[in-house]
């Protein structure tokens, strides 16, 4: 098992190098001079321009800059933002928890709703309930996320006034960032109402970001459950006189979950892409919005980090899914060795 994981990890090294190449060179292809964008309205003399280029090492040949970047990366140095002059790692550490919190909440919504829809639909196969639920899932799958966000804001925030429009917590609360996760920090603070405010801020963005994964999970759960429900061991469990709830939730679902877990894992990658849009609509201060703003500002180190992080998250999740899969199904492992 350990050897299998190690082999997988070694196999990822070329992909990682490829990603650093893409992260480094792609953003440098963007037309526009970062120094000019940095200086904004100020007129720079050529001497000042050259000095700033030199200070950030942008005057050196590209391949030198790349190896310099790679060397620093290995040591965990992500560089300094060209705009805020803060270390990228520091900015990232402040914003990443917001995205993680949003993504987790979205995944929770997606899994709970998706599993429920999928299980109920599979049990009522062919009925109008099944058709209705799968219709709902197909609509969710086709939903333009940005519009869905606006519609929810229009209804819940503007019409009913139930939820706030943007941000992570109401402005009157001054929350000390301990974990970076607003729900936890608000719960730890002794300010009354802070936790409620954080929850209300999180609901709509999580629902919006969770919609597409929810639909995917619902469809997968249904088809996976249908396959399992016809199996002999489920019939045996029923024949033994177990309660229908126990048969479905313990015997059938446990085996039906394997492909569902894969889908949940793969959805994590698309959550990051969805986060770019969701964070923009709800002014959620996470890495999606930060990345979009930084591309516009030609902030090379920030964009490099953003690309690297999203790719790393995607690869790591995929690796975990593959390893989990080989735990469940040892044949995959041996096939790999045979190759």
């Amino acid at each position: 098992m350990f050897a299998y994981i190690l082999r997988k990890l070694l196999g990822l090294i070329p992909t990682f190098i490829g990603i650093t190449l893409v992260a480094f060179f792609l953003i440098r292809l963007v037309p526009g001079d970062p120094v000019e964008i940095m200086s904004g309205e100020h007129q720079l003399t050529p001497a000042m321009h050259a000095e700033i280029l030199q200070r950030f090492g942008l005057d050196r040949p590209l391949h030198e800059q790349y190896f310099d970047y790679l060397g620093k990366l290995v040591r965990g140095d992500l560089g300094q933002s060209l705009v805020s002059h803060e270390p990228v790692a520091k900015e990232f550490a402040a914003l990443f928890p917001a995205t993680v919190e949003l993504a987790f909440a979205a995944l929770l919504v997606a899994t709970l709703l998706g599993l429920t829809l999928g299980i109920v639909a599979s049990l009522k196969r062919g009925s109008w309930i099944d058709q209705g639920m799968m219709g709902l899932a197909t609509v969710g799958y086709s939903m333009p996320v940005f519009w869905w966000g606006l519609i929810l804001i229009m209804f819940f925030s503007v019409q009913l006034g139930w939820t706030p429009v943007s941000g992570r917590i109401a402005i009157e609360y001054d929350i000390l960032p301990r974990s970076g996760l607003m729900l936890i920090d608000a719960a730890l603070s002794d300010q009354p109402g802070a936790f409620r405010s954080a929850v209300l801020h999180l609901i709509l963005p999580a629902l919006v970001l969770g919609t597409v994964p929810m639909a995917v999970i619902a469809r997968m759960t249904r088809s996976s459950m249908l396959e399992v429900l016809g199996d002999d061991y489920v019939r045996t469990a029923r024949a033994k006189g177990l309660s229908p709830g126990r048969v479905v939730l313990v015997h059938a679902l446990r085996n039906a979950l394997i492909p569902v877990i894969t889908v949940v894992g793969l959805q994590t990658g698309s959550l990051l892409a969805g986060a770019v849009l969701t964070e923009t609509i709800f002014s959620w201060p996470g890495i999606g919005k930060w990345l979009i703003d930084s591309i516009g500002r030609r902030d090379y180190p920030v964009v490099q980090t953003g690309i690297l992080v999203s790719a790393t998250v995607f690869i790591t999740v995929n690796l975990i899914v593959e390893v989990l899969y080989s735990v469940v199904n040892p044949r995959i492992r041996t096939e790999h060795t045979a190759q």
């Binding site: 070329p14 990603i19 609509v139 086709s142 939903m143 770019v276 849009l277 964009v303």
Partner: protein
Amino acid sequence: MNTQALRTSVPSPIREFCAHYADNTGAVIAFGVFTLLVIAALFAPWLAPHDPIEQFRSHLLTPPVWTPQGSPQFLLGTDALGRDLLSRLIYGARVSLAIGLLSVVLSLIPGVLLGLVAAFQPRIVSPVIMRTMDVLLALPSLLLAIIIITIIGPGLVNTMIAVAFGALPAYTRLARAAALVEMNKEYVTASRVAGAGTLRLMLRTVLPNCMPPLIVKATLNFSSAVLETAALGFLGLGVQAPTPEWGSMLSAARDYIDRAPWVVTMPGITILISVLAINLMGDGLRDALDPKLKRNL
């Protein structure tokens, strides 16, 4: 379905496909909706009641016709600049469908070719192609599209290229996997023994048999291309004003969310219905091309 009729006469593959597709009511309705969209896109100048960029200054933010303040002149109302929403949506169908279709073609052809080459040249070429695709696949396609748009600039053609780029790796993987399965079959060996060259084996022998999963993938990709185009438009990076495009219409409507809900709802519903129709068609195609799968589920 009438199985008796099928048994007595051997149906042509196309007829069998149509019969399977017709079984799926949702897919048939979706095909109807999609046909309407294509008609709207093709005949926009004749169907649209107004010029999509003409501004009716005396009719700013007119509500749809079914509301008390609505005007029969503007069936779905007007936007903040007094432009007719219905006309803009009809013309918008041109942009979305054109970008969707062309970006699928732009990613399908090179993607499939790369996949076939990777399958036929497993030693040196394949690892290079597949590792590159792994790298591209690891980046969220929307993020990749945004960076490419920033490099080559916004606009109709550039949006197409950016959207196509993100879809490329999936085709390469799929084509390679399908080709590897086919290459082990006897008909390919027979063709090789008969003296077929690599190019012929690739394009005439193997490729046609890899098509079903690729067609399904292309249909589903079409819908994500429409969504991604709208997302780029929404972020202000796609097709530029005053060209009517669904995503940028939504983005412009954000400021009127509390006063004029129709400017937000109409473009969104249009995007949703289009994407839904294409997805349902894709599901129908998949079931019809692989009837075994359908019977199992």
